[in-house]
Symmetry: D4
Subunit: 233 residues, 8 copies
């Protein structure tokens, strides 16, 4: 609970008030830092928010940040950490000391890497130990079957897959831990920008799968971090 700046009184400046109202109560209320979704915001708005974050001093993630957003954020928070694949900026740059159980992020294919990496980094910045396994889709089952020990050691598993989206159901059938499934917008036309794997995952015939939005690595990493949180008491 020594999280920097969380819940402390702080008054936003005018530039911020016109465009955003930071949820400065969030860490106190939920125990997790705030995230700023950059898509749809101008670079200038991202910069104003980043400046306020620096002023207030509370841990914050900036997700879906394009080059313009990143430049504006780093101008305000020069020591922030930026991961280009995951399109994520984190401030402060280092994750907190990990507690709770392990989060394992599994990507079905190489093309799912950006989303998987976003989940991985979010889980770490929210305080968990997190690992990544890539390109173990069901077209060659031996690849996932050879990872059984690693799968069974995790307290929460994020499975990222496009196309047929079949991997989360296969994984869920093999383990006791809950599986958070993330559909990606990777695939031929009838994947319909992620609709196909989304439906597959919602219809998983193995129980123990719950689904987040298409390409939403942030949401999956956040949910996994909550599931693997240290149990009070």
């Amino acid at each position: 609970m020594a999280e920097p700046g969380a819940g402390e009184p702080w008054e936003p400046g005018e530039a911020l008030r016109d465009i955003a109202e930071l949820d400065h109560d969030r860490f106190a209320r939920r125990g997790y830092p705030e995230a700023v979704y950059c898509e749809g915001k101008t670079a200038e708005q991202a910069g104003v928010i980043a400046a306020a974050v620096g002023e207030r001093g509370a841990r914050t993630l900036f997700t879906r940040a394009d080059a313009g957003h990143v430049e504006a954020i780093l101008a305000a928070l020069p020591d922030a950490a930026h991961d280009a694949t995951a399109r994520l900026v984190a401030w402060p740059p280092d994750p907190p000391e990990p507690t709770g159980g392990t989060v394992l992020v599994v990507a079905a294919g190489t093309s799912d890497l950006p989303v998987a990496r976003e989940a991985l980094l979010v889980a770490r910045h929210l305080g968990r130990t997190a690992d990544l396994v890539v390109d173990v889709g069901i077209a060659g089952l031996h690849r996932i079957l050879s990872r059984l020990d690693q799968l069974r050691a995790a307290r929460a598993i994020v499975v990222v897959a496009g196309m047929d989206g079949a991997l989360p159901g296969v994984v869920a059938g093999l383990v006791a831990a809950p599986v958070i499934a993330v559909p990606t917008s990777v695939g031929y036309g009838a994947a319909f920008e992620g609709l196909a794997p989304l439906l597959t995952m919602l219809n998983s015939c193995a129980p123990g799968v719950a689904v987040v939005n298409i390409d939403n690595g942030y949401g999956a990493g956040h949910m996994a971090a909550q599931i693997a949180a240290p149990v009070p008491g």
Copy 2:
């Protein structure tokens, strides 16, 4: 080519002419008997067609036959074979002597049985040896993995699955034979009456899967029989 009545000259009666035009050229042109899709036809119409089939004497399948259709067809063709699960009536009742390779029909769950059984019987009535394996969905992978020998012995494999529709892709990743995937309308709400497994199958990340219509066991059995047909020469 000793198929009964195929291609022989025959003149339809008036009752038939008002409602249907049998494709009496089909066996000669394609080598497979005609099928009559009963859904949307009245029982009376099915009966008139069955009577014409009996007159003409050519092998015919009646698919998607409900109780009314069956009664009318059996009145005209008393020795026809009826399978209630598959909703299929076949005349003559016995399949021809099998030729070509083996067709294997695999059903992911018990609820997929009606469609799987339709595929099985159609493949047999079109002249193939055909077997059925039931309830080997991916929630318990060991079930399908224990069938590898049977899967690899088939020349064409039909895989029937509802819900996540993931089984065909898993099977295709294990064998050299082509897989015909049949989505079924089995599942919770977001299966959208078979749309979910249909999309999964179309997006299979393992190549070697092609898809037929939702619940279309007839089409799958027909396609598999064509694939496993004896190679000329």
Copy 3:
């Protein structure tokens, strides 16, 4: 691990083998009992499976059971527990002694009760303490806000809602525990049989929400039980 009959060697009879292949390895592999999805199965099939369950002696849930299914199951397992609202049959009738954290099931409206109750009972039969709160939808926010203590005491929260499906996002914004959201097929035409709340939940602007299939109380209860499982070591 004293779960009755789990993983013990057992050989299915022929009647069963033709229609289903019980996943007798599941408890050993995953730690949770098997469930039989009755929809799409005949009453007779449900009865055959129930008889096998009784023979084998392992804990089993029968979900989506209609009157015909229930009659056939109870004929084979006379002491099984049946909940008509949840359409659930459980055998043995009593849940195991609860371990792990508490599961809280929240239903937005009275019409969501069948799904909510299915989640509740599944969580209990999978070994958790579970409670139910009904009719606290967002049209009158004070209803959910007055339950903050109860919400914050749970280790996993299931939120069941039809129509606008907005409740899970509101709940997730108030607590640290993960929220499993279940859309229901309740609502006017543009709810499209549950599609509207499904999309709402997938798009929750509060992180910490993951979604299961429409009306899938079983999947939600199972996932919540996994999340709230006792942490090993």
Copy 4:
């Protein structure tokens, strides 16, 4: 009714007649000025229409104007007012003196600002007092709850939201005034370019919500201005 140029006789030139037929009767018939939807029109067409507007002398709004449209319109109407965020050009530049009740425009997130601002300006140019509140989405309920007085003082409320689109229903549950909901195309993949919040809003379990098209700030501002119009008599 001293609105400039409304309903006065006027004859369009040929350049205009080939591409558009201004609804010069609209103010007389409906009491609100005409608007020109620029998307899909060439810059040249926008310029021809702007020139005719200047000739005729009646108040007009140009919506969805990109840089090319704006340049052409300002060439014809140099004193027109242009708001880049809202993509709106208004002529004459100043709104009329406000009458009737107050319109309050509420944006769930910063990314909804362009649409919210369009609604705000349209309401003002149609003769209402209008205010704007930004970034009060349901992930942090305290933000909207702290605005209850402002919400209850408005005669019509426009609520703009993307993603889960849950804010209009929450607002409607708190006030007596009607809520016009505007879905935006902001969000992850399963928002489907605004379909998700559109459905959420149509399914609001709180009555008192009616919905306009995705990103249609113009329509919302117009509707709110009509609702908050001075009551005759």
Copy 5:
């Protein structure tokens, strides 16, 4: 504010507490009585709620009530008013004395009558003067054009239409009052149970149209009553 029983202290009995939590604060908070959506509730649940309504003594509407619901409600509230076409039960049976402006409900076709009548009665029970015009669809424009005076005298207009859903846009183009559009599930196959008129209405090229859910006469009547409410002095 002399509305019966509104906001007075009242404690629900146990039978009610298990299934519903009446929003007894609603009239105080919003100024409009509560409504109970019967679809998806059992007749028994409707009866328990009706009994509580009678005890508490506050004005309540029961919408989408089928024969079973009606019987149970009337058993608890024998003097309630039931309109079979609108599937509405109102208690107390008489609407309050009307205040504010007039609501006009317009139905495009005879088949839209149940929804239109629901809107009409709801507007009356919420305290407005309300009239109904039927079968004035755009296939014969003279029918709606002959009603101009009646249309222009209303302060809020509800337009109910299935099929092409074009009538609301035509009406909005003729009047200054806001139009609440209600799509109905009436029409040939490509109306997709109301989706077609829903989209038409959302895309109305005449401003001044906002849309409620398919077949949602209740929501439209409620919204219209709010719009036409007396303006606080």
Copy 6:
């Protein structure tokens, strides 16, 4: 213009005025009689309208009439003609003397017969010579190719097809006359109640195809009658 009762002054009774407003101007304005769409109307309403039709004495068609509608209509118009397959009631029972060109109605399969027959009878009752050809789908191309003379003799062709909906495009590629395509709701699951053939027809790669609603034989027959109308000399 000797059409019975068309355009003559006539005053509706009160029973009618509450539910419908007959378009008594239609024949004068458009030259074609009115049709009453029965679906969604009660039998009683159909009877009231039929009585008014009898009083007024103008030619009228009743479409989509179920058994209850038919009984009520025939009670009011005992000499009306009823075709059960087409679900059509016509009054007066005999079509007018045919003028103009020939309409040819082509049905791809037997299951399309109800819709095809509705188109056929409507074309006749609107004053055209009309013929019907059944079961000439593209699975056996020789069936349609053998009808080339009949196809080329028609001035308008209606093609009715479910499933793949491919027949209209094939026909259009063979003739100079315009083709009106009618998708039907016949087919396996992925026909989605007629959506599949609807899209096929809209995407016909042969020009000369325009499409009406799913199962809308009435609309197709009407359109074909207009196309084949006698050309004013």
Copy 7:
């Protein structure tokens, strides 16, 4: 039949044979010249086809031609006529002498002009007299009502509309001639690239409307030319 080059023997060169097979039989078979759909073809392919067209000497239209296509076509056919708004190239440049009835093309808004103009020019190049009316959408009904004479003089009417797509139904209710409706991809988000007006038009409650593909001015102009063709004999 004096159409240049139609049906004359001609042998394609190799460059053409690899990419296209011109339907040189089309004019003889259908009476209308061929059209080449350029979208999806490379500029080079368009050039090769244009060269073959020039060699063969038969009238041809090139539709959906972008700048690259146009350059390549004009290189091969320097005297071809190009209309940039309609994206159409016609060769020979002049339409044939008009015969048959008049085609009237009506565009609801200025943004529908490209599609409307394509329909207009196609009708002319297929041998009809054709006129154009622009910006007469239903938001100001007086605009279309003032054109009644022009509408009633046409033998076929093409109505082009985006957004709500309501204009074709309004026009059809006013005239005896058949209406070909063309939805356009113009509008706010819930127009879904033309889906909304497409559905509106398919559901027109006025009979006498048939629909072609979204933005398909070519198909509409072709169909209208067929309808308005001179009647043989």
Copy 8:
């Protein structure tokens, strides 16, 4: 089985391990070489994989390769064969000696050429004789009918079509061989990026059609190669 490098022991370097896990067991398990789907991968990733392919020495296809991918792959595998139309890179550049039956690839239009060519080349690189026929869509039936001999000589037929997607059903009705149908994203708006031909093909009224994903020439060529494989024994 003399396929280069297949199944031989090989250890991936670290650069590869971070992004992909080649399925080096695939040829042994399935008899067909691996393919690398480039879309969604960076050029750098494609280069790393190509380098590993070269090291390992096993036949590999790179599909959906854009200019960046191609450059990176050719840098690592300078003798690989690149086909720009098909967006395919193959290594080693020459296909193996053909065995089994012939694959015929049929493209409905010139715009379908890229997908058809991908299918053609894949079938060849997987060891089959394969031929291509272009622009024989159903708008001019004589084009496909003149190819009957070629169609009937093939052991597997791939039919590629956009727009109405009707060609596969027509072909299937003419031959005994199975037809693999590939919808393409070619067409006007209501083709919905390939959805229309996809549905057409799934609903083919001629049996003997199975469908792969939109624009998935690779999948079709692979499936056809499997169907036409030499029969063991």
